[in-house]
Symmetry: C2
Subunit: 131 residues, 2 copies
DNA sequence: CTGTCTGCAAAAAATTTGCAGAGAT
DNA sequence: ATCTCTGCAAATTTTTTGCAGACAG
């Protein structure tokens, strides 16, 4: 992590995540990236993602029964969760983080929370309408 | 799922989950099960786990950065979450489920939650002491 | 008996690694 | 010039599948 180089691949990955501003899977990333860079390898994406995670520029999410997604983090302190619709797979923001309230109670019991993830799925407004 | 047979493998898997009463990974299950049944295959465990999930006898959890765990469900309606300690990997119960409060707010916005999972990790009381 | 379940081996799917050449600083 | 990064291929890791024989009902 000492010297990270600003390659075209890295730039593209980060700017794609930035403009999408929703959690994206490796496959989504790859299928978008090949449009610009037809030879880009998935291993390149994996390696860049690791480096971006290490630099805290992106966040990792598990949605949709354990599928892995990544999302650009505009503010380094930003903390956000998402919900995914079972039917249309669209991803929505969770209005509040319900864990922070819990954190105090947990710490009183002697457990210090370092990390949390929430996976919520269900049916979104549109899909309910169209059923 | 029509006719589920009561094999020795199935019995052992369920009773091991029952007596452990904590989320267990496939590997933990397997390494315990071989003591009784040296030839048991992981595919047998996977298949039985699927069937037990379908019958709603066990729950599936993701802990420890996406590792999959299974746990016996004593009461079919039981709803529970867990925290895992980063250092000792011990699993603790979460005192309350923070999602239910959210559920109402989400439904007002038109999203019906069908399923949720929480992954929390940190450092437990003992590990803090021993640091 | 009949149909389901098992162990084994092989197949899939997802991610990681080794390497030689390309590219960034 | 040096060191990191890339694409490719192969290796890992995790889970699923096909199959022939074993076992439950």
């Amino acid at each position: 992590m000492a010297n990270v180089r600003n390659t075209k691949q890295r730039q593209l990955i980060l700017s794609l995540l930035k403009e999408t501003d929703k959690p994206m899977s490796i496959n989504e990333l790859h299928s978008q990236l090949v449009k610009e860079l037809p030879k880009i390898a998935k291993s390149t994406i994996y390696r860049n993602i690791d480096s971006l995670l290490a630099q805290n520029l992106i966040d990792k999410y598990y949605l949709n029964d354990n599928e892995v997604f990544y999302r650009f983090k505009s503010d380094h302190k930003e903390h956000k969760h998402f919900v995914i619709c079972d039917q249309c797979n669209q991803i929505f923001d969770l209005p509040t983080c319900p864990i922070h309230q819990l954190e105090d109670a947990m710490e009183e019991e002697g457990f210090i929370i370092k990390q949390h993830q929430i996976q919520i799925s269900g049916i979104c407004k549109n899909c309910i309408k169209n059923n």
